[in-house]
Symmetry: C2
Subunit: 456 residues, 2 copies
């Protein structure tokens, strides 16, 4: 298969189980600190989470089973686009004049154009199984909201999405996509919740924020017995559902006769695409001893791993969530408006954080202009126009390819292209016309925000 | 493979040749009338086309070889997304409560999201082979322009796209996509050509038209020795390059163990996706005697097959092109501004026209509201949001599925989903909010336009 570009996997070889990193953390020498109740500062129990999540997902959140079976109805929906293709970037390798062999996993073939439906479908399924009729969620630019809209449609659930008002008004296409799949989308802050009304009373023209939208979605779910809440990243069960990505990659590399990767690269915001891609490689390390460098790329505007501190913090701005130990820039920190909206998060998933603290993964940060330059170089060779989030992984892979050139080594590099940029072309336009602002590390804002960390 | 949804084809089984319908037309009892010079009314020769097209493409235009080898560099680019998947629409079948088995070929996985790169890549390759440095073309909504931009990037050609000004201003994302692949995009009418300057002198605020943009692109190509012109549909060689679609479908149906289709459905504008999908089924009819109904769906706003006349007419509004015998609504006819911009053409490819005249294919027309209703029903079951053009094929397949239900027959239906609707969500928004205008058959306008047909 010397000249193969696409490495496909038949449906019959699709993963039938999700891989649960928690089972292997002790074997990797990593400790995952418990999630704490914000009031008592004691570990939260299932009862604390029951108003928001169905039992099956709460069980997955704390499970230590190594493999958890993917229910057949979820697999059936996955088959609409999974297994996703793995590509060998032969043309880009030539363009970069590198001896490296570059592979990329492409999650943009999903109905919503990113990896998000992998967990949205699972979450909608378990909620439907337990008699939940409606799900609420928040969305910024719309990737997660559209994934949950699609998933709810698949299992006959109603879906209510609180969309940050500025995005609701400026990015109507993602909203239309959600509506096309039958979701109700309201601009946040709204008059439909106490949290929303409180903001509007004070700031009638508020353009909203992800923090406010979370508060609204959580409030509605907590106050209605037929409704629960869904989150698109950060939590263990969300990362768990994404592990189909990395499992497929490993099978596809075998099919392609590729060497075991020297390095794998993903972008990180909350951590879900990165985890889904990378965790199965840690399973291989445990099982077979085969190692690979694992590199996370984050935006300079929200560099939680490279510049944050590893401590207990709130997951949201409004301090409604439990306390989790994670790399954080402080829950008050609001990242600059970079186009990679999916990476604009002040914290990092606890699992990814624990791995980083243990030295099992590396991290680098980058401003957005180099990201778009790398993404464009990729698009001109490979055809696919990456989402700005995925562009961070492209940039990271490019650095590795250039390092391999420098070293004169035919290293094997694999990265996760977690989504396409069809809804992000205004960002490319800004880059092409030289009007894209770079946001460097906001040292002063982070310093101030870290002062407000909770005392544990 | 009872439960298979995706039918994949490995690269090793991708078609290595294009199928040339011209070879089989005599065996199908179909005559293809010659293309005439607009001045002499005599058949055009290669020399007449040489200023605009490279020799290889002119040779393909008139070839009667049954199979033409796809050059390896073209196959290498195809491999970035081809073979494209064939899906069994199991969930949509259930939603329609039909005993029919519905399959769809999905061309939306290409870099530009439609079938257009199949010919763009081939045309760019042959031009580069013959030392051409630049290509010009016109584009309306941008599907064809982005395909040619991508293809030129792949073979190191410059690309200049004259984009109808109203689209240039209202649909900036397709323009950005072209620029991302390195094309120069100018709003038409422009000051860069005689044709454009003439229009601007008379109408300084002209919003442009496809007819004007063609004139500008053709004028620039004809007046520069390093530049040629590329067309995205209608011509024989363009349709030829699209036949990878149908060849793949036939191999995929075999792999899936599917019955020979009772009916196949595609949408038609100029005819290229329809031809690429359907012609290989005619090859099977000639070779094996296996028949299938072949149905073309066109918009009620531009119903050339169902309401036009089969006669010699110009391909463009400005009467610059040779005369071709085709189903036409008259070259003066300007279709209403339906969202399926790719189907807004007054004529029909000569090959498709000849087949329709011979009774080998059927045709139906439909206004756009039923198209969007069908497309939404499809999107809610299958995930993929169809382009408005492809929505016509979805509507046609739905009619066949409902007819199968009525008849209580498990018919096999295959349709071509030629592109996704990621750049057409404003159309879905109009439909969802009940604001989408239906354009019925414009009887009076067509009658008037047909009066202006050239006399042969």
């Amino acid at each position: 298969m010397a000249d193969t570009i696409k490495v496909l996997l038949p449906e019959t070889e699709a993963p039938t189980h999700w891989y649960n990193l928690n089972a292997d953390l002790p074997l990797l020498g990593v400790e995952l600190p418990p999630v704490l109740h914000p009031g008592t500062k004691q570990p939260v129990g299932p009862a604390d989470l029951a108003p928001l999540f169905p039992e099956a997902l709460i069980a997955q959140e704390v499970s230590t089973e190594r493999y958890i079976e993917i229910p057949e109805p979820v697999q059936a929906i996955y088959r609409l686009w999974r297994p996703t293709p793995l590509f060998r970037a032969r043309r880009w390798e030539k363009a970069l004049d590198t001896p490296a062999r570059i592979y990329y996993k492409y999650e943009g073939v999903s109905p919503t154009g990113s990896h998000k439906p992998n967990t949205a479908v699972a979450q909608a399924y378990y909620n439907a199984q337990e008699g939940v009729r409606r799900l609420t969620t928040e969305t910024g630019a719309g990737q997660w909201g559209s994934a949950l809209s699609f998933a709810c449609q698949a299992f006959g659930l109603e879906c209510k999405v609180y969309m940050v008002r500025v995005s609701y008004e400026q990015k109507p296409y993602r909203r239309v996509l959600m509506q096309a799949w039958g979701a109700v989308v309201v601009p946040s802050p709204s008059n439909e919740t106490e949290a929303g009304r409180r903001v509007l009373a004070e700031h009638p023209n508020s353009t909203g924020s992800l923090g406010i939208a979370i508060s609204e979605a959580v409030e509605e779910a907590a106050s209605r017995s037929d409704t629960k809440y869904a989150l698109g990243s950060v939590l263990n069960h969300v990362l768990l559902h994404q592990t189909v990505i990395g499992q497929e990659v490993i099978r596809q590399l075998e099919r392609a006769g590729a060497d075991w990767p020297d390095v794998i690269v993903g972008c990180v915001g909350g951590g879900s695409n990165f985890a889904g891609f990378a965790f199965p490689f840690l399973a291989e390390r445990v099982r077979t001893g085969r190692k690979t460098r694992i590199v996370a790329i984050e935006p300079a505007a929200a560099p939680s791993l490279t510049k944050g501190v590893y401590t207990y913090d709130f997951g949201d701005t409004a301090r409604l969530t439990p306390l989790v130990k994670m790399y954080t820039l402080g829950h008050d920190f609001i990242p600059a408006p970079i186009h990679a909206g999916g990476l604009r998060y002040h914290g990092m998933s606890p699992q990814v954080s624990a791995l980083y603290a243990a030295g099992l993964i590396e991290a680098r940060s980058v401003p957005q202009n180099p990201v778009f330059a790398a993404a464009l170089s990729f698009a001109r060779s490979e055809g696919i126009v990456p989402a700005p989030e995925a562009g961070h992984a492209v940039w990271g892979a490019m650095q590795e390819a250039l390092a391999a050139r420098e070293a004169g080594e035919a290293r094997t590099i694999v990265f996760n292209l977690c989504g396409h940029g069809h809804f992000d072309l205004s960002a490319y336009e800004a880059f092409l016309s030289g009007k894209l602002e770079d946001f460097e590390y906001p040292e002063e804002a982070v310093r101030k925000s870290l002062e407000a960390l909770p005392q544990i």
